[in-house]
Symmetry: C2
Subunit: 111 residues, 2 copies
DNA sequence: CGCGGGCCATACCGAATGGGTATTGGACGA
DNA sequence: TCGTCCAATACCCATTCGGTATGGCCCGCG
């Protein structure tokens, strides 16, 4: 269970369909579908019921949804806290992230 | 910032040295060292000060430490809640995780 | 003062992860 | 029955990631 898994899960839960969630997350449907399946496998139980027109949250899924959102928001908090806390000792304006061994530095554009 | 990053960070913070943390996490030192460096790069600021005998938490590091532990514990909670909640609709005893596309199913032995 | 042992960082390589395209199969509505 | 929307699978390639080997630094001890 990684944070990416949780984001994927939340997106699918909220969109009610892998395809739509995939568009929302800017990935294609199959990887996302696999990710959900992998998450369910890891947890040892299904989170969704596959219907003809999408994915419907199961009980376990509901249980997870709240917690997942909670966790993701804490992560966001941590990120911004760190940003705020930014370099009280030795600052360095963002923009130069000197990531030696690639770390994509992704930007979230709001389309 | 992934959960693995956070675990790594916490381990290093608590052990005070990458090498010891690496042993604790059952990985070798270089990947862990890289992971910390990557995390710092991603956050845009150092979390540790490298001294001759280990890693010393910086302010930003302290800030992160609490939050990281909090997040990790929530994740654990989610896991056990899911386990408890286990398959009220359609059970399936653990042991068969049918993970199609490898998901290592790691077991944490307590050495 | 040189040697040994602790530490972290880098270089390099091979295995595993992960995303993308193409495709299949089921369910529904026109 | 056909067209559409859905998720799952098969396959392939790029990227990520961990391990080994190595280097450089700093300290304490003989």
């Amino acid at each position: 269970m990684s944070l990416v898994d949780l984001e994927a899960f939340v997106a699918v839960a909220e969109e009610g369909a892998v395809g739509r969630a995939a568009r929302r997350l800017h990935v294609s449907q199959p990887p996302l579908s696999r990710r959900i399946a992998g998450l369910e496998a890891e947890l040892g139980q299904p989170l969704f019921r596959r219907t003809a027109r999408g994915m419907e949250l199961l009980d376990a899924g509901h249980e997870l949804l709240g917690r997942a959102k909670e966790i993701l928001s804490r992560v966001e908090d941590a990120r911004s806290a760190l940003r705020a806390h930014s370099s009280i000792p030795g600052r360095a304006p963002p923009g130069l992230r000197h990531a030696k061994r690639g770390r994509a530095d992704e930007v979230d554009e709001g389309d």
